[in-house]
Symmetry: C2
Subunit: 213 residues, 2 copies
Amino acid sequence: MSTFVLRYFPIKWRAEVVRFLLLASDASFTEEKPAWPEARAQQPVGQLPVLVERDAGDGTEFLLSDSVAIERYLADKYGWLATGGARVTARECQLRNQIEDLYHLMIVHIYGHEAGRPDVQARFDRMARGFVEYHEGVLAENGSNGHYFGGSLTWMDVALYTLLLLVRRPYERQIPGVAGYFGEDKAPGLNKVFETVHGDPLSAGYRATLVES
Amino acid sequence: MSTFVLRYFPIKWRAEVVRFLLLASDASFTEEKPAWPEARAQQPVGQLPVLVERDAGDGTEFLLSDSVAIERYLADKYGWLATGGARVTARECQLRNQIEDLYHLMIVHIYGHEAGRPDVQARFDRMARGFVEYHEGVLAENGSNGHYFGGSLTWMDVALYTLLLLVRRPYERQIPGVAGYFGEDKAPGLNKVFETVHGDPLSAGYRATLVES
């Protein structure tokens, strides 16, 4: 049996999929919000989130950083990866990294230099339109059933769910009109994934964390 | 049997690991440099690189985008992934994504808004120092043998090799002093990986492409 510690800042960004998977997998975990920048030197490459897995038997620790790597590790451990061979695995990796590209632009817009914002917005505009068109196609190919792969909840559905939660949250320096790119009119397939995940009993633990935020 | 088409811009950035793996795997492939932005609408999410795999038998095509997803797919197909279980796979994913973070900052410095460059350089400085320290530790744990995992060439060795090729190339708007972060004095383990990959007979095909660049 493993117990986990999830270290991250007290914000809702790069650890939401990790939180969802830990809660939905009924894993034993606690959260740490390290003092920053004091705790930077103790983290791999000086970054958060970090996941610490402790073996309940011998107490050994396995440290993992990089949000996508952490998500994928937990998805693998608890059975949330899409199955079907190398091409399915490759497609899942591609789709997740495309979400990461959008995350990244939103973060740059919030925390980056003011002079760069028009460029960031122009890039987001292009990328988000391409994303919606492409992902709608992928979802239609899977039968428009509210899932990216097959007929049940996988890592990618969760990743899309937390992306849409983020784009719908108000931030002072959020990309203007960001939620509009993913509206029901333009992205019915993506919205169906959102509703499917939101309504799944497995998301109950994670949904409860949204109330306080 | 599959044949591949690799679509990318006529520059040396995000397709170098893909080129290396195709050449070292003796795969049958050609390269396309699509007219841009005319060909944007035909690519998933409007981005390059794109890999097209054609089944030589029935002619069906499998399109994959996102450089890391493409690399990982080819590494899986041709036996370049590290082996040893879920934790090794997770570590490999983490290390590769850390390289991607450095790539990304270099690209933003070259192509991003001028006013943002001091911020980008400060972030690169912090990240590159943390990267070198952490990766040197990972390489030492593997016996300082010129490989990230075990005793033979894997995807991560190749990814590090092409990263160091990129940081050593002169670009007009490259991050100043970028190569210095990875010098022999600071990063003996990383340099050993570079020399090991460079001297491996499997890299001969890729090395030949460097002459023209």
